[in-house]
């Protein structure tokens, strides 16, 4: 019997799913659109240096004000967000892809391959990720691609463990075993027996890990690695803004709200992924 008592926490997630989630998804869609077509949202050239308009407060021509070189902060936030968010997204996708491939190999391969593979995975998992990314960035080169690759290379072991565990549990379900004795195999088995089980957790994990990758990418920029000026990037923008906070506090607002918004929206997307599978909880009779 699957019987589930609801706690107040779950009740809150219900409220979230009913009101905030559609709103959040709409917002996420809007952000993705802006990131895909930045020219529609940019009001002025984000690279144009105009020393006459240094550190202007928000208003008029510049909705978020200008930075110390007189560049429009609104446009820079959007262009910077485009780089930060898409890089985080791509890094997670790449990491998830590598991790899933390794997980599949480790499930299928003979133990001579499997055992060393899992030992490598587990020892890789032992390194702190920011440290690993810093070292890998130095090796792979100080560019956007280099940072994306190093984030992907630091997150894959987590995905290997995660996907591997999900697949083991999914294949061990009694109805999967029953259907295999009934003669169902291969892609058909995977499509209608395994995929419905593993997709909701993988979907939510993808968004949660993406949010983390975005923050990691910003962290690398904050430390002065990765994307180099004059290209705008949220992490680097925050680094530049910190000494200016006493004089011009609005300088930090754009990238800070950008980080907070992205992470929150990714969390909401993760919740809606989880709710995809929730109906199984109700089968208690």
């Amino acid at each position: 019997m699957r019987y589930k008592l609801r706690s107040s926490k779950e009740l809150f997630s219900n409220v979230q799913s009913r009101w905030i989630q559609p709103f959040g998804l709409l917002l996420l869609l809007l952000i993705i659109l802006i990131l895909l077509f930045p020219s529609t949202a940019i009001i002025s050239d984000p690279y144009k240096i105009d020393l006459k308009h240094r550190l202007l407060p928000p208003g008029g021509e510049f909705p978020l004000g200008t930075d110390s070189l007189g560049r429009c902060l609104f446009s820079r936030t959007i262009i910077g967000g485009r780089i930060t968010v898409t890089s985080g997204f791509f890094a997670t996708s790449l990491g998830a892809f590598i991790g899933t491939v390794v997980a599949l190999i480790s499930l299928r391969a003979p133990s001579l391959v499997k055992e060393p593979l899992m030992i490598i995975t587990d020892s890789w998992l032992a390194f702190p990720d920011l440290l690993l990314i810093l070292v890998l960035t130095l090796i792979l080169g100080n560019s956007i691609l280099g940072v994306i690759l190093s984030i992907a290379l630091s997150v894959w072991p987590w995905w290997t463990r995660f996907v591997r565990n999900l697949l083991i549990v999914a294949y061990a379900q009694e109805y999967v075993i029953a259907s295999r004795t009934a003669g169902i195999s291969g892609f058909r088995l995977f499509k209608s027996y395994i995929l419905p089980q593993i997709m909701p957790p993988i979907g939510s994990a993808f968004f949660i890990r993406s949010a983390r990758s975005v923050v990691l990418f910003g962290g690398i920029g904050f430390l002065g690695l990765g994307v180099q000026p004059p290209t705008p990037e949220w992490g680097a923008m925050i680094k530049d803004a910190i000494p200016l906070i006493p004089v011009a506090p609005w300088v930090i607002v754009g990238p800070a709200i950008g980080f907070m918004g992205t992470v929150t929206l990714f969390q909401w997307a993760a919740i809606s992924m989880r709710n995809l599978a929730n109906y199984r909880n109700y089968s208690f009779l």
């Binding site: 008592l5 029953a178 004795t181 169902i184 209608s192 109700y282 089968s283």
Partner: protein, 519 residues
């Protein structure tokens, strides 16, 4: 004032459940429509109903354990002189749990703490009790008390829960399917313990079950004065003073041991005598346990219907899983059509089908019944035609084909599982405790349908069960197994009517306690 003399009175209980289905569809289902009943101390009320009819919800209501999705519309409960209005003060029921009302749950594995020893869980009830003595009452060696629940079989866990009930000495015991999945010997022991508890402590029992034979046995044990039975059907309770009064309301075929042998023998046509399956001294050991299968061997000829009978824990399920290729075996071999063949992992590709004991867990909850049934066919163009043919034979309404497994009743689930097993017309069909969770009328209808279909299509059957009526309805040769070994074999008639081995004798003796009450 009459109410005060009764232990439990339920008045006008009206509950419904709300299911949220995928696609935001909301389904409201009425479970009970104003039921009322009462119980006196030392009395037993048997609640008889189909699986999936909501019997368990009554038990959960009385213990105050309902969760979200269940709506109580009306209802008053009087327990031991206290009045509880279920709509206004439902939570007050929880104060009766334990010393007042003890719930013996349907799945004991979920009710026992998995990581703590039985002993420490007993001592939580009362520091001064001796768990060893208590579990010996229910037939488990006292030395086992220091083990954790996972070391026990399902039947043993059920008996441990019953021992806990004895330790608590409740005023009311709610037993939810206490005999499900037990072999006749254990079942009988279980009922005897229940009767002792009622007699020594004057405990009232609410016996919720679909198993009419064990309810009839209970009636024999406690005597007609202390017995009432309620037929729970479509949310209404029909209360009678004796099971015999239900005659006509429930029909049971295959009434007596040995009554169905004659037509079985007539049906047995000249066999082709081709050895379809040969099992040669298979051994199987799970880590850290004794041997589950200990050199079991038999030969099954094509078109024959074989049966395996034995107590729970004798290795029936493991044997079927080894044959179906779900689990590897450690020693011995399997010959398929005369040739050595190792079926592990899943190498039969649909030629051998296994019908699982629990239909609920063996069906994919993510796809509707229709797709579950036709999935083994692959990309067959005839799939639709075959689907309608098989569902017509088995008796599945078209309506239920579009439902998901968790929307179906137990009987419908069992039919879906059976349709999936039969749609490719397998050479060999393995049945593990077939139809054990079903309501008797359903059980016998399905057994007849299955037997006829297999004879028509020439499907070989291998049935593992501890239920004599199922074995004799389906098979024409039976092997009795004990501790993973064949100890006795023969035609069901000879084996059951003139048992020669002590294991067979004890099984037959116990089975005679669970005969059809209407004859």
């Amino acid at each position: 004032m009459i109410i005060l003399m009764k232990l439990l009175t339920v008045e006008d209980l009206d509950i419904s459940i709300t299911l949220s289905l995928p696609g935001r569809k909301i389904l409201n289902r009425q479970i009970t429509r104003g039921i009322s009943f009462s119980l006196e101390p030392g009395q037993i009320l048997g609640v008889l109903g189909e699986s999936g009819s909501g019997k368990t919800l009554i038990a959960l209501t009385l213990t105050g354990l309902l969760g979200k999705g269940v709506n109580i519309h009306r209802g008053v409960v009087w327990f031991n002189g206290n009045k509880v209005d279920l709509v206004k003060s439902f939570h007050r029921l929880s104060s009766f749990r334990g010393r007042g009302i003890f719930l013996l749950p349907q799945s004991p594995a979920g009710a026992l703490h998995p990581y703590r020893s039985i002993k420490s869980q007993f001592q939580e009830i009362n520091r001064n009790i001796a768990p060893e003595a208590l579990i010996e009452i229910v037939g488990i060696p006292g030395t086992y008390a220091s083990k954790v629940p996972s070391r026990f079989s399902g039947g043993m866990q059920k008996r441990i829960m019953l021992a806990m009930a004895i330790a608590t000495r409740p005023l009311l015991l709610i037993a939810d399917e206490p005999t499900e999945g037990l072999d006749p010997v254990t079942k009988w022991e279980m009922l005897r313990v229940l009767q002792n508890l009622m007699r020594s402590n004057n405990t009232a029992v609410l016996f919720i079950t679909h198993d009419i034979e064990s309810l009839a046995a209970m009636e024999q044990l406690v005597g007609i004065d202390h017995f009432k039975v309620a037929l729970f059907h479509h949310g209404v309770m029909d209360i009678r003073s004796s099971i015999r009064e239900l005659k006509g309301l429930i029909e049971i075929n295959h009434t007596k041991l040995g009554s169905s042998f004659s037509d079985n023998e007539a049906q047995t046509t000249e066999p082709k005598l081709c050895k379809l399956l040969e099992v040669v001294s298979i051994e199987k050991t799970y880590p850290e346990t004794s041997k589950i299968l200990n050199g079991i061997s038999f030969i099954l000829e094509e078109g024959k219907h074989g049966g395996i009978i034995g107590k729970s824990g004798s290795g029936k399920t493991t044997l079927l899983k080894c044959i179906a290729g779900v689990e590897p075996f450690s020693k011995g071999s399997i010959k398929w059509q005369g040739k050595n063949f190792n079926p592990f992992p899943y190498r039969f590709k649909g030629e051998v089908q296994l019908l699982w004991q629990d239909p609920y867990v063996s069906l994919n909850p993510y796809i509707p019944a229709k797709d579950i049934i036709i999935e083994p066919l692959g990309n067959n163009k005839d799939a639709k035609h075959k689907l309608y043919k098989i569902t017509e034979i088995i008796g599945l309404e078209e309506d239920s084909l579009h439902k998901y497994p968790w929307e179906l009743s137990g009987g419908q689930c069992q039919r879906v599982a059976l349709a999936r097993a039969l749609i490719r017309t397998p050479r060999l069909l393995l049945l593990d405790e077939p139809f054990s969770g079903l309501y008797p009328p359903d059980r016998h209808k399905l057994a007849q349908i299955l037997r006829k279909f297999c004879l028509d299509e020439g499907i070989t059957l291998l049935v593992a069960s501890h239920n004599f009526t199922i074995i004799e309805a389906l098979t024409d040769w039976v092997w009795v197994i004990e501790k993973g070994k064949v100890v006795d074999q023969g035609k069901p008639k000879n084996v059951f009517l003139n048992p020669s081995h002590p294991e067979t004798t004890s099984l037959v003796k116990a089975a005679q306690n669970f005969l059809n009450p209407f004859v």
